[in-house]
């Protein structure tokens, strides 16, 4: 897998929007959360509202990238085999029937890292350039 971090300018969300389609994604939690093991099926189920707990029973709190961010589209296509729009329609069915609340939307990767370390048991996904010592990689998505 090619490294493309040099494509990503560090300052603005618009640079995230320019992320290439085949970038590697990382499912992450905050270092303050208890370490857990999640496979792709677990992650898919959490982000589609099919399960709401982490292994061990704690409530899982997924966080999405902002609507329209290509990282979000790429995550849903790779992990759920659905487009972000399909996932949104899926969540509309759950939300408006009281069966679940869709993942909270973060403004950008920096915001995600902030929330991961403020709220226990939150998980989200980041591009490689956004990884730092405040997050723990749970799964790599090629």
């Amino acid at each position: 897998m090619s490294h493309v971090t040099y494509w990503i300018a560090p300052l603005a969300l618009s640079c995230c929007l320019a992320l290439p389609a085949q970038a590697e994604l990382y499912v992450v939690m905050g270092v303050s959360s208890k370490p857990v093991q999640l496979n792709l099926q677990n992650i898919k189920n959490i982000f589609l509202g099919r399960i709401n707990t982490l292994p061990g029973g704690a409530r899982a709190i997924p966080i999405d990238q902002h609507d329209g961010n290509p990282l979000r589209e790429e995550f849903y296509v790779k992990v759920t085999n659905l487009s972000a729009a399909q996932a949104k329609a899926h969540w509309a069915r759950l939300y408006f029937t009281g069966r679940g609340t869709p993942p909270v939307e973060a403004r950008n990767s920096q915001d995600i890292k902030l929330q991961l370390n403020q709220i226990p048991n939150t998980l989200s996904y980041l591009e490689k350039a956004a990884l730092d010592s405040t997050v723990r990689i749970i799964q790599t998505i090629p």
């Binding site: 509309a92 069915r93 408006f96 029937t97 009281g98």
Partner: protein
């Protein structure tokens, strides 16, 4: 509690005040969140085969929504049958207790605002929660989200399988969510009752300007939803006592004797990157009153980028075991099927455009319509072209 109708202005203001656009706020010590949905739909009857006059309807007609009285009639473009706007608000007192309300304003109902949902939710633990209040009956895959057009591929759901006189209940629901091996699961056990005054559904059969009330009591049911990879399955069963008033009776507001009904349903939904396959079966046992109802639907679509073309086929038929007692023959039972071609286009991540052609074919014998002279349920065949703009906000 009967179906609630409240002044539209007050309700709208109440929800707008506390439901920001897909947002959240804190007020009076409560966490408020809310979101909305809307469907703006227009349709035109292309043709139909008139066989008789129907009381109050310009038929041949196309019934797009039995429960809410959505009927396309002869004439020009019509926007009332499927257009609606709804808001849902949730107030959380703490992480374990919340109150959720949803109001819907339908053009088919003349702009009246109805409470479709209003319930308190107690989270007992991570798997179980108890809900008390007003909810939708969870029978088929899209039963509870029938008003949220953005959630499904069509302009309107299959009237053959989603069309019944009662779609809500007031009562209690014990909900479970968990993992069974490789399958994600959710289970509901529910009980309650519902009374609908001046039923839209029965107006289609008894005449548009007649009044019929419907009551389902001692309702008890369960549904199980299972999902794995791209496949979701829902199985549901329900029983209740049902009773209706009869506009032709000496006392048209008095309920007739209650009789039992048993409803069984199964839904299958497969959705991957390209293929979407959806099917449903519904069986209603009302042998104690008139007989049995059978419905089925099947749809297949293939997503190409932002476009989702689909082909759907839906069928309904009835068996009247008690026909002789009613002065009818078995051939007088209601029966019809519908074939639909539809196209959905994802306009934005939260809005979609849809175009749909429906062809409704009557399968009942002419005797049925002679026996039901006021029925708006289509005589002969009818075709409808409709389109919609669905959005979340």
């Amino acid at each position: 509690m009967t179906k609630q109708r409240i002044p539209r202005l007050g309700c709208t203001l109440w929800f707008l005040a506390f439901s920001t656009a897909a947002g959240a706020a804190e007020f009076a010590g409560l966490d408020w969140s809310g979101s909305g949905f809307a469907t703006v739909a227009i349709g035109k009857m292309l043709n139909g085969v008139p066989t008789q006059m129907q009381s109050g309807y310009a038929c041949p007609c196309f019934v797009s929504d039995f429960a809410q009285g959505g009927v396309y009639q002869q004439g020009g473009l019509q926007w009332q049958p499927d257009s609606k706007v709804g808001w849902q608000g949730k107030a959380s007192l703490n992480p374990d207790f919340s109150v959720t309300g949803q109001v819907v304003m339908r053009a088919a109902a003349g702009g009246h605002v109805d409470f479709e949902w209003l319930y308190g939710n107690w989270r007992l633990n991570e798997q179980f929660s108890l809900q008390i209040g007003r909810k939708r009956l969870p029978l088929l895959y899209y039963s509870e989200s029938q008003d949220v057009g953005f959630a499904y591929p069509w302009v309107h759901l299959s009237p053959q399988i989603y069309g019944w006189e009662i779609v809500n209940f007031n009562g209690a629901n014990l909900a479970y969510q968990g993992q069974w091996g490789d399958w994600s699961s959710s289970v509901d056990l529910f009980t309650g009752s519902e009374t609908v005054r001046n039923s839209n559904y029965w107006q289609m059969y008894n005449g548009r300007y007649t009044r019929t009330d419907s009551r389902w009591r001692n309702l008890l049911g369960a549904d199980v939803s299972l999902s794995k990879d791209a496949l979701e399955i829902r199985l549901a069963m329900m029983q209740s006592e049902l009773a209706n008033t009869n506009p032709k009776a000496a006392n048209p507001l008095a309920f007739g004797p209650a009789t039992p009904q048993y409803i069984y349903s199964a839904s299958l939904h497969y959705e991957a990157a390209h293929w979407l396959i959806h099917g449903g079966l519904l069986y209603i046992n009302r042998k104690a009153s008139y007989g049995e109802d059978f419905s089925r639907s099947f749809a297949v679509g293939y997503r190409i980028g932002n476009y989702l073309p689909m082909l759907s086929h839906n069928r309904y038929y009835q068996k009247q075991h008690y026909a002789p007692a009613l002065g009818l023959s078995p051939a007088q039972a209601e029966a019809h099927h519908n074939t639909a071609l539809s196209l959905r286009y994802e306009l934005t991540p939260a809005s979609a455009l849809k175009l749909q052609y429906d062809h409704w074919q009557n399968d009942a014998q002419p005797a049925f319509f002679i026996a039901n002279p006021n029925s708006a349920v289509p005589m002969g065949s009818s075709s409808l072209l409709s389109m919609s703009y669905d959005l979340l906000f």
